[in-house]
């Protein structure tokens, strides 16, 4: 038998108390791992979404920049339009590698779901849009003919599943009797494109009576371009809003970071509670074993042996709770993610809780360290029990 086994068996004496303490540590670890996973996953997903846009700058009609950001990433409502000929002003600039025009249109579709719903259609230029998004691969079919007014539709992966469409199906757009043929279904990309219904730009303009208008102009810059200086130039154009991807990212991250601070504060408090729980449990067990610890010392246990034994008990409690918490956080990350998505104003596509080995090791280290800190006082107290005091307390 060694100190580790002895400490383990000591914890079995008060099973219920040990279980409650481990449960407290488990909950704290669960919160910590989920938060750290969220911290990493959210930023990764946002970067992924933004990189997936394929362009560094977006020009939209003048309005609120947050609306513009939402529009680009989520397909928002309250769309504003700008004249299509603005493209000529941009295309000629030496900083521009290429541009792509987009017209997003939201329309109530009475056939969507049980009670109808809003369908979002994205009119794109078949010549430029695929070039800017080379990562979009097809599950079936291909992009439209180069004809900008073809009666064809390409569905994002999730949109195809939701609409239950296959290649060759014909679709009617709400408010129009024009039939569109599904010519392509995209693979899952993990970006907002998964939920899109793509049509040729001109088709959307004609169907929804937005001739000569676009909602966005995506701009891809050359490697050498000074993005900040070019943005300043773009601001000189009338009635446009310039949104850089870096700006979008910063805006969203600053919105989320204030929420993160609050959540981390809650996690910190949960930790303090867990630590005081550990301290209380171990201290109580030291007082209960006052005589026994004295007897151990009469048997030859040195203060450092007793210190080690009590600290091992604390570490076992924390390691047990830490492992359970990590397993729970991993197993229920889907539920945690759904809950976080529900409360967040904007959540990017992909996994917003990314639990990896680094996070697991870091969390385990933090929990164990917390346990060690919480266990030092009881261990010190136990180490200094005099054998005589404990014996005398019973047999004077």
């Amino acid at each position: 038998m060694n100190i580790f086994q002895l400490a383990y068996k000591n914890l079995l004496r008060r099973k219920l108390r040990t279980c409650f303490t481990v449960a407290g540590i488990t909950l704290s670890t669960w919160v910590l791992v989920t938060l750290l996973g969220f911290n990493k996953g959210y930023e990764n997903s946002l970067n992924n979404d933004i990189d997936g846009m394929g362009f560094q700058i977006v020009l939209t009609a003048k309005g609120c920049p947050y609306e513009a950001a939402t529009l680009m990433l989520k397909g928002g409502t309250g769309l504003r339009y700008m004249p299509q000929d603005i493209v000529q002003n941009v295309d000629n600039a030496k900083e521009v590698l290429q541009t792509t025009q987009m017209l997003m249109h939201a329309e109530f579709d009475p056939d969507k779901g049980e009670n109808g719903g809003t369908a979002v259609y994205m009119g794109i230029d078949p010549l430029t849009y695929p070039l800017m998004k080379p990562y979009l691969k097809f599950k079936q079919g291909q992009w439209f003919d180069n004809d900008n007014s073809a009666d064809e539709i390409v569905l994002g992966y999730e949109a195809a599943e939701l609409e239950q469409r296959e290649i060759g199906d014909l679709m009617l757009l709400p408010g129009s009797d024009r039939e569109y043929k599904v010519v392509g279904i995209l693979n899952r990309s993990g970006t907002q494109d998964d939920g899109m219904i793509f049509l040729p730009l001109k088709s959307v303009q004609e169907t929804f009576d937005k001739r000569g208008l676009i909602t966005m102009l995506g701009i891809q810059l050359t490697r050498e371009a000074d993005a900040a200086a070019f943005e300043e130039e773009l601001y000189k154009l009338p009635d446009v809003q310039v949104v850089s991807m870096a700006q979008v990212k910063n805006t969203i991250m600053s919105l989320v970071s204030s929420a993160k601070v609050i959540v981390f504060a809650i996690a910190f408090i949960a930790f303090l509670i867990a630590m005081s729980g550990v301290l209380n449990t171990v201290l109580m067990s030291v007082f209960e074993r006052f005589q026994e610890i004295g007897i151990l010392k009469s048997m030859g246990a040195l203060p450092k042996d007793i210190f080690k034994m009590i600290l091992t008990e604390t570490i076992l409690l924390c390691a047990g709770g830490g492992l359970c918490g990590i397993l729970l956080a991993y197993a229920f990350s889907g539920i945690s993610e759904a809950a976080i998505r529900y409360f967040l104003p904007f959540a990017p596509a992909g996994n917003i809780i990314a639990i990896d080995v680094k996070i697991i090791i870091l969390s385990f280290f933090i929990i164990t360290l917390t346990g060690i800190i919480g266990g030092i006082y009881p261990a010190f107290k136990a180490a200094n029990i005099r054998p005589l005091d404990s014996i005398r307390s019973d047999s004077v």
Binding site: K9, R13, L296, A301, L388, D394, S395, V396
Partner: protein, 228 residues
Amino acid sequence: MSKIIEAENLTKIYKRGAEKIYALNNATFSINKGEIVSVTGPSGSGKTTLVNVLGCLDNPTSGSLKIEGRQIFSANANLSEAELTRIRRNIFGYVFQKFFLIPTLTVRENILLPSVFQPELKTDDKNLNRIMENLDIAKRKYHLPSQLSGGEMQRVAVARALINNPSVLIADEPTGNLDSKRSDEIKDLLVNLNKNHGITVVLVTHNPRLAQIGNSFIELNDGKLEGG
């Protein structure tokens, strides 16, 4: 016979407010190797204080104590707690009125408990089995203390005290919690340990039948040795 414990003018004073209580008052005596020494006297006469000082669990206020010829306490010698622990490890085994067995450990594990803190104490199964056979608890080695009778628990406590092969066994009221039948078992056990293994036994008891096993006696009254 060589002397294993030599005490000279051992005094232990407790203070209660301004009042001084002499738990031991100039006790001078010696104990020979291989003896059974019965320490008797009325309650509060200082018996437990005496064995605590002899067993290095407590310091005397004054006087000197030698164990196996080594000066443990005197006006000039003050051993550290770690040194006292080493002496306790190497020389003494303790049995108390309460058994102090760890409830979640089996009989075997309770007996081996001292070896957890003394890595140098190599206890092979043969030695362990011999001790358990001698104390008639071998059949109970995988049982928990809650499954044992009082007499068996005290025998486990004795086995635990013997695992480090002590020269001196200090038994403070070892039958205090036992009925007469179990007390007799423990009495026979102490005699057997002394006769067959040469262990010096310092026995504190109120029980006159148990005290009879001593071949030397220390009688205390108000901290003083009777006739001392």
